[in-house]
Amino acid sequence: MAGDQGTANEWCGMTDVSPFLEAAVRTATPLLIAAAGESISERAGVINIGLEGCIIAGAYAAFATGGIPIAGYTSAIFAGLAVGITMAFFAVVMRRDQIIVGAGLTMLALGLTGTLFRLREASAPLVTTEPVTAIPLLSRIPVVGPALFAQPAITYFAFALVPALWWWSQRTQGGLALRAVGDSPSAAKAAGVQVVAVQAGAVIVGSALGGLAGGSLVLAQAGTFAEGMSAGRGFLAIAIVALGRWQPVGVALASLIFGAAMALQYVVQAMGWGIRYELVLMIPYVLTLVALAARRRGVSQGQHFSYAPAMLGRSLPDD
């Protein structure tokens, strides 16, 4: 009784929050990168169910490359690009059903990485993970310092993406064209925007970020590859984009919430609360459902579907 009290107090104590925050931010990183990519693609009107495939492909590429992290990240991006180009070819250029193509590509990537992984010799399953880059001074701030400023470089990159993406989509003609294509391809076309090129480009860039997210999973977290290690992060990222209302800042906040939910499992294990581990693993998924339901209801009072790009999921009209 008294012991329980003590543990709880310790947990509530300021100093113990830090590892949890650190884990939350680290776990949020691949989600944020993938969701940022997906938000680009969805802004142009393409829902990329192949994102899960991009992540697993990126993870495997990073694992298979090994060596220094930068090489791993580069090949992860290329793996995402490969998936993205295929997606863009079928779903954008050939106007095929976005959802079916995406689902097929995710299956393909999961199967292909599984096959390649099993064909490899069983030796050397570990790769060098990216070291923590502590930012001087800032990382010394109590509690939040280690959590936010003693992270691998990829985390800083992920969070730098947020303002960059905002600036690009709101302050450049390219970003304006992207938003116009997702809103009304005919209007964009009439204004001289190369609609197919913009949409395909958005899918490819978004997929490359998906690949990078997969790379970070291996290079900044697990240090190795496991079949199906993407574990639905691509689908979570799609949910995060909807939750963040297709806005970079919203997407970042939603990613952090999910990072925290996933990091909860470490806390539960560490604290020995007697909650079944499997139940804790459900939390992010249940949270997604609850959050999406709550979000929708909150919005439906005012303007219902206005946040989603109008053309999301629809193929472009034929020329």
Binding site: Q170, R171, T172, Q173, G175, L176, A177, R179, A180, D183, S184, S186, A187, A188, K189, A190, A191, G192, V193, G302, Q303, S306, P309, A310
Partner: protein, 487 residues
Amino acid sequence: MSARTDGGPALELRGIEKRFGDVVALAGVDLNVAQGSVHALLGENGAGKTTLMRIAYGLVPADRGEVRLFGTPASSHSVRGAVRAGVGMVQQQLSLAPNLSAAENLVLGRRGLFNPAAAAERLDAVSAEFGLRVPAVSRTQDLSIVEQQRLEILKALSRGARLIILDEPTALLAPSEVDDLLQWIRNFASNGGSAVLVTHKLREALAVADDVTVLRRGQVTRAGPAKDTSAQELAAAIFADTAADGASERSSDQPVPAASSEGAVIVEARDVTISRRVPVLRGASFVVRRHEIVGVAAVEGSGHRELLLALAGLLPITAGQLRTPNRIAQIPADRARDGLIPDFSLVENVALRGLGGRRGVMPWSSLAALTSELLRRFGIVAPSPKTPAKALSGGNQQRLVVARELEREVDLVVADNPTRGLDLKATAFVHTQLRGAAAGGAAVLIHSTDLDEILSLATRVLVVFHGSVREVQPERSAVGRAMLGAA
């Protein structure tokens, strides 16, 4: 007409040919638009007017022929090239992104950085410079139709357009808005600009144009200065061999036997309010009786669309009482979206009617027999009842919808733009069917964006303005004023 500044042609089309599959859309068309002039391009729906202008603007490539813009041949033809040469086009389907701001739509399609404040200033500036007021809304869909059209014109002008092509610009406007637009076009031309006005309305063409070209079935049937021609001559050039058909149908324009005030009440609305987040229709009260054809006139966004949906039983009302009969026929405005399933066979499309309440086994064989009968009875040209609906021409698709809805006796017909995009014959067919339904005992409510169509059919007119409904004398000027809220 104002004096023209003769600086050579703004647009020259030579021998333009275009086919879509087996259909010849344009068979060698020439057109000359002088600088500083207004050129009216006349013709029926499907005559090739829009296709010709889309070719001029670089939206579609021609199969053969030459396009010259301000004296320079447009070789590698594209929208970008046309814009660079000084051409702008306002299409019938306005091309504005509904969720972008007005200013964003104005500057869309450029390169480099985008500055919202500068774009808003630019909107203000061009708006003032060209005398076309557009409020700086954050969502373009919040603009009225006429404001959206102005924004389209400003888009073109702000890119330095000296030739503006307007495709059926008056179709969605109320009469006084039409006059404003025509006046603006005149002023634009007298300041040295050039304009092509694509229309099927003679009155407008003669009111504003310096030159007129008439297209029929992809060929020029008349071209020359507007002052050298008359409405009769132009009508002959437009309709030619269909003139006989047209005349006979027109002659049936006389109103249906005087609307009897003693006919049974079919529709009764009492203080009907419909809300979609905000009230879009308030306190509407009216009755419609058997044998009446009642026109519903309104400019876009007045609440009439919701009224029609509620009458058809597709939208619940928020307050008040609305009594409608059970047997309702509905002809929706967008047949490809709401009236038909393009991928389904004709039989299946006929089977759609009443599907919501159907139970048990589908009686396919009797539905197939019914479909064959409808094809015969309503003169629908189709290879077989098993053909997918998308294989039919637009006119035959609409005939199928009308046939399905009116095949058995109904008490109420709700028709929303039932002749949009149809040629003269198909239009006449639809009108005949609607009159027939009224004669057979139904109450008919019809809305059309073409006020003349309403006036030619209806014995009474209800005008919806800003959510309120009132009855107006079925007469052009009175209805036109009421549509804009004037007394």
